[in-house]
């Protein structure tokens, strides 16, 4: 057991550990997306999932193709897109709130279906 810990502490961190962390974060985001009704909570869950994906990009780039920067750039673009998406989504949420005074997806918001 002690050997295992010293191994972990002294060697480079295996890629599986990074992937494990991002997978957990991603599926926590999935859980939040599926279970929460509050639109802002849904949005937060989406941000979690995006972050997990971003880290994955960077990790794969760093571990598997250290000489290149493709994953790096795509992380950069994903951050830009996520920021834009968050801004627009929040604008929409605030507008909906002004109209129907709720931000729960199963309440009056379903009027917008028709």
């Amino acid at each position: 057991m002690g050997e295992f810990i010293t191994n972990l502490l002294n060697n480079t961190i295996p890629i599986e550990l990074y992937l494990a962390v991002t997978t957990i974060v991603f599926f926590v985001g999935v859980y939040g997306f599926l279970s929460r009704k509050n639109m802002i909570m849904v949005l937060i869950s989406i941000e979690l999932m995006l972050n997990a994906a971003d880290i994955n990009f960077a990790v794969f780039n760093r571990y598997l193709y250290p000489g290149q920067l493709e994953g790096f750039y795509f992380t950069l673009f994903a951050i830009a897109i996520a920021a834009a998406e968050a801004a627009i989504a929040i604008a929409i949420i605030i507008n909906i709130y002004r109209k129907v005074h709720t931000i729960y997806v199963d309440e009056d918001v379903s009027k917008m279906k028709y």
């Binding site: 992937l19 926590v28 509050n38 951050i79």
Partner: protein
Amino acid sequence: MVSNIIFFILAFVTVVSSILAVTSQKIIRSAVFLLFVLLSTGGFYFLLDYHFLAITQIAVYAGGVMVLFIFSIVLTSQPGIGVKFEKPGRMLVAALAALTGLAICGHIIFYNVNRVYYYVTQDELKVQDIGFGLLGTEKYQNMLPFEAVSLLLLACIIGGVMIARKR
């Protein structure tokens, strides 16, 4: 040694904060836990020697997006009315689906990732190289996605104006 310890601390913070973020009953708390996740993501980027990415992450996410979240929470929360509890059945289904997905993905990661890799230490990336890579049109240079993202941002600006204007 130190970086390994830092990694485990960051991993712990990330996992716990994300779980708390999606299960918390107060939105403002969720937002704060999200902030922790975002910051520790920046930490991961530091660990991977992608310093520029880490700064961008902190500036854009922790700086920009979080402010928007806080604003929207403040604007849409009604005093005296807490966040509604979700239906337990629904939470169970969601948790089941998420856990299944986690199990499958974890299984795949730990039993099927068998590509050989070598972790090479590298110097800090020069921002100049990043800029050339971003704006060049040669191989491994990403002018086109850059332009696509800039167009997307323009569309977002227009969309934001459309949504926000008074009718």
